[in-house]
Symmetry: C2
Subunit: 339 residues, 2 copies
């Protein structure tokens, strides 16, 4: 595998205001980065798009450095080490090749038959987020009603399935009838509520006749208030994503009266706090995926330059499944290339 | 003990708007209630004033029936059974004599040397509330910083002392310099912040250099927002009282961003959910009070007709300590009456 002399990278053109526009980014043709001491060159194959990236663009993310105009946009990818061909998870950023510290690489570990992109979704950070939310904070018991917003997204799609496997009746909240249909037909939610519908709170009440025992929040503030009104006594609420904050379009608030009325518990979830769950998560969810008991769903885009539009799609909640940009094709199996 | 033919009772004159006024109540002279089947006549000696009563006056309390104009104002008291002289806890309402179901009475159990009024405060519902908040939800560890609002009130005064006994550094938030002084000098808080001072959030930051690990909220919404801005990672917040809601003067909201930033846990506490703690609470806190390791503080008022003004004082947060109306004198010890 000999890399070309130049490649494409995507940098921040200007700080986004509100929901990111495609013009907030700019593709550049540059020399391939030269690995420094302790670094290796990797080729980006599958780039993960994640909501946390929005925060880095205005310096608001908890776990990552702020990104200034002209800087490479950060991102994690399934990549291949150029020298060895080894498959790794790497913080490549939005570029075709990256020089990264060898010590930062982790092997891509997916069960046989499972696509490597699962390591960015159900078997990656979004999956661990869902696993921590469900097993540690929502703790559904059989018969509980668990509501998941952004239900067809990377975290929500996994969380809904995990809650259902734990015996909960799961109700999806998603934007638009298409995503609601996907939620029920492909992700196994018992019911789905379209948050764009004017009567969505009534639909939620119909779907949750005994109230909401657990709620995973990754949507706008209006959704949070609507669900809190339906909270059952002792209900658990996990705040996992605040798109209003990420997009700087508003400030989500929780009505304290609803928390009191339900004697609820509200948790703020940041996945980095739950790394201790990673080994058990990898083993259990890996098996569920391999056995076909937990379905993968991807919002796939072709070519690095599709990343800005795909990211806008993600940040408006238009994606269905885990957002992935296929930056390079996976190489064909060796025995077919060398017959 | 022979009761008179008539007595005084206080009824709701009109539904309060906002903070209750004295004119929202009316004293009436009426015949002493006649006990029905299964009921006994009790004499109210010490009447407890509690914030939950405000909710009953506009039908918003979780655990009590709504009160209409003309109805007796509800309340719990240390009372004496007229026939036997036995000391009991009874739901007398705001009146000098009450006919109550015998099955509803509980004996007043306070350790030797402890005043019976403690059964309405530190050894009663407010004390159990504080005990549940501290031991079950805030769970302070030695070195934690625990902030208590309404810190010199019935719940706050006990909670602050319990958190300090658990090894926490405790910081009071109270209204005005007098209550702040009481909080430090009599209730043992390490520091106190006057929420009426314009720079109170800076004073809070100074008092909590390592952030707030636990917060017991019983104040206005502005206090909640100010404390949440100082929350340490993993902080626990207990919503225990919402005076804005009780007084119908506003709607308290929690900024979701602050909950996320601190990866906090927020609990809505209603004491009725924690009755299982009552035996352990009675044993442990009873001993602490008897040993003088937990101090009692009372905001005492003389005579039933002082109740409306005292209640207004409570609902504006002007009380220092547990609000009690001494409706009747305690009888002198028997051996002094019959020498």
């Amino acid at each position: 595998m000999t890399p070309p002399a130049t490649h494409t990278r995507i940098v921040l053109a200007r700080r986004p205001r509100g929901v990111p526009e495609e013009d907030d980014f700019r593709a550049e043709k540059t020399a391939i980065p030269a690995p420094g001491p302790g670094e290796v060159l990797v080729r980006t194959v599958h780039l993960s798009l994640d909501p946390y990236v929005r925060g880095t663009l205005t310096g608001r993310d908890l776990g990552h450095a702020p990104v200034a105009p002209g800087d490479l946009v950060p991102g994690r990818a399934v990549a291949q080490v150029v020298d060895t061909g080894a498959w790794v998870l790497a913080e490549t950023g939005w570029q075709e090749y990256a020089a990264v510290p060898a010590s930062s690489l982790r092997p891509v570990e997916v069960p046989p038959g499972v696509p490597r992109t699962a390591a960015l979704g159900a078997l990656g950070m979004p999956g661990l987020t869902a696993y921590a939310a469900v097993t540690r904070l929502l703790r559904p018991e059989p018969g509980d009603t668990v509501v998941v917003s952004a239900a067809a997204g990377a975290v929500g799609g996994t969380a809904g399935q995990l809650a259902a496997l734990a015996g909960a009746r799961t109700v999806a909240i998603a934007g638009g009838p298409d995503k609601c249909r996907v939620a029920v037909e492909r992700l196994g939610y018992a019911a789905a509520v379209d948050r764009h519908a004017p009567d969505w709170t009534e639909a939620l009440a119909d779907a949750c006749p005994d109230g909401v025992d657990g709620y995973l929040h990754m949507a706008g503030g209006a959704v949070l208030e609507g669900v809190l009104d339906r909270l059952a006594p002792g209900g658990r609420v996990v705040l996992c994503g605040l798109p209003d904050h990420a997009n700087e379009t508003g400030h989500t608030v929780l009505p304290a009266g609803a928390v009191m009325r339900a004697r609820a518990t509200v948790h703020g979830l940041v996945v980095y706090d739950h790394q201790d769950l990673a080994p058990r998560f990898a083993e259990r969810v890996g098996r569920l995926v391999a056995e076909g008991r937990l379905r993968l769903l991807e919002d796939a885009h072709e070519g690095l330059t599709s990343a800005p539009a795909a990211f806008r799609r993600l940040m408006t909640g238009a994606n269905v499944g885990k957002s992935i940009v296929h930056v390079a094709p996976e190489p064909a199996p060796r025995r077919r290339r060398r017959p």
